[in-house]
Amino acid sequence: MAQLRVLIAAVVLVLLSATTALAQDYTISVSQIVEHPALDATRQGFMDYLKEQGLEVEYNVHIAQGNIATANQIANQIMDEGPDLVLAIATPTAQACAQRIRNIPVLAAAVTDFVGAGLVKSMEEPGANVTGLTDMTPMDQHMELMLEFVPDAKAVGVIYNAGEDNSVSLVKYLREEAKKKGVKLEEATIQNSSGVLQAARSLVGKVQAIYIPTDNTVVTALESAMKVAHENAIPLFSGDTDSVERGTLASLGFDYYNMGRQTGAMAYRILKEEANPGEMPVETLQELSLWVNLDAAEKMGVTIPESVLERADTVLE
């Protein structure tokens, strides 16, 4: 009984200490699966955009630390907070929010396959309270970019986590594009970030370029793949521009910060113009920018084609 009393006392204490919201225009609850640069940049872009529009927003940010049980509890927590809008970052957190939260608008970001994940009925007409912005990479353009660097490539490697739904969808499209271009796609799958080094090594000698899609697991251990690329003079491309900053050769992206901003614009329409999320089509990123990294090119022994350098938006030294 004494333990029970301690427990009740603790509950009461927390209830009392929970301060009520101050004078803010809106409250937004955020549910994010893990913390990593791309997902954090999405959140930041979202917040920055709304701030620039002059909206006073109080944020409740929750991170599930990769745990789906916690993602469920966060969805419950958000029901309590009763925000004006929910921002769900990545597929599992978006699904947990979509399942529980039925009458608050939910914007999902960093989700690749909205229909496959069951979040919306169709990309054009989501139908319920969930819509958002897809991070489906334009694989055709990425393939063309790689072939511009390595025109006579016979095979291209890709490293991804076969347990990440987003990555599996991406690689499916990459496979189709490779087939169209007559290039062989060598796939190396991993289960956790410590497998990236070995996966990259397994591609050495078989491929003329390596592609890292926007895969949460691989991106956390990007440096391992870079090391292999440097040692074996293999051009390493990435699906996102944040990774170019970390040392991949080039990307046509797809900047997660901009993605967050565009999602922020969707939030603005819902909050200020009372747009109905069920009638807002799932958006794709409007601005794609070409990033190249000169230092990476040197380390990988690659010459950047003039045509690429000319139209690059960002050239990192």
Binding site: V11, Q99, A117, G118, Q191
Partner: protein, 298 residues
């Protein structure tokens, strides 16, 4: 912590409580630390979601999931008893194999159940609020399972399971085949874990191959918290304690999620740390209490 968070924590406590009961059976009754659960939880979810998507009624789907979990547990048991592989290693092998198996079953790493029929539909059709229906259903299932386990542990089979964990040599000398007891015991445990997974995916809206990560940690923490707070003597009490331990564990996470400590700001990345600290407090508080009491008495 307020209404939804509290209700949600209870609900998660019950639904993962089924998994905790499974962990209790192996870890405490059989003295068999079983890591299969990290794979059998998503296995249950995978089988349930594929079945439901294929048109199997949700209530039948959870039995199929339990069957799959039972088989997975049996594999671990057979690897341990018949092939003489250390129990920890045997269970790890099954666990990593299940990762691939689960992707095979679903055909992809994540399978949605949003918009599909679930076990919760009949309750919601009766007019129960979507936030209360899972609590009512999972609570009922958990209580029924606890009752069934209490009955089971008093049968001859249950007694030989208890005896196998207690003193294997003694029970072998009495002519009980401990291999069969272990194989079926680990199977039973994992069928409960798979049941938990089958229900979790229906309340979460999707089965995901990564949903099992950390299951054993949550399971062991719940078992130990339950024992410490609610006692561990006899056969009936520890079973109830395991279920309650699961609820306390989820309440701890709900507390950590809503924690505000005035000027000291807790960042979202502190969640795991805070949860661990709260569990440690639950674990050590009875010891401190008994020390204080014994000093006061002397």
């Amino acid at each position: 912590m307020s209404y939804y968070a509290f209700i949600g924590a209870l609900e998660q406590g019950f639904v993962y409580g089924l998994m905790v009961l499974g962990v209790y059976l192996t870890f405490r009754v059989l003295e068999f630390p079983d890591l299969t659960v990290d794979g059998s939880l998503p296995l249950g979810a995978a089988v349930a979601s594929v079945s439901i998507t294929a048109g199997v009624p949700p209530y039948l789907a959870i039995f199929l999931a339990m069957g799959a979990g039972f088989l997975a547990g049996m594999v671990t048991g057979i690897l341990n008893t018949k092939f003489k592989i250390l129990h920890l290693l045997a269970s790890i092998l099954t666990m990593i194999a299940l990762y691939s198996v689960n992707i095979r079953i679903m055909g992809r790493p994540n399978m949605t159940l949003l918009g599909k029929p679930t076990v919760l539909d009949p309750l919601e059709a009766m007019g129960m609020a979507p936030s209360l229906a899972p609590l009512a259903l999972f609570g009922t299932i958990a209580v029924v399972i606890v009752c069934l386990l209490i009955w089971f542990l008093h049968t001859e089979w249950g007694q030989s399971m208890l005896a196998t964990g207690d003193n294997r040599q003694m029970i072998t000398s009495q002519g009980v085949n401990t291999h069969i007891v272990i194989i079926l015991g680990v199977g039973l445990s994992n069928s409960l874990v798979a049941l938990s997974g089958a229900l979790v995916c229906q309340s979460q809206g999707a089965a995901d191959v990564n949903m099992g990560v950390g299951t054993i940690v949550a399971g062991l923490a719940s078992v130990i918290v339950g024992e410490t707070v609610f006692g561990h003597r006899g056969v009936i009490r520890p079973l109830i304690a395991a279920l309650l331990g699961s609820i306390v564990y989820r309440l701890a996470i709900a507390l950590a999620l809503g924690l505000e400590l005035g000027a000291f700001s807790v960042t979202p990345s502190d969640l795991n740390l805070i949860t661990a600290v709260l569990v440690v407090i639950a674990l050590v508080s009875p010891q401190i209490k008994s020390k204080v009491l014994s000093r006061a008495n002397s």
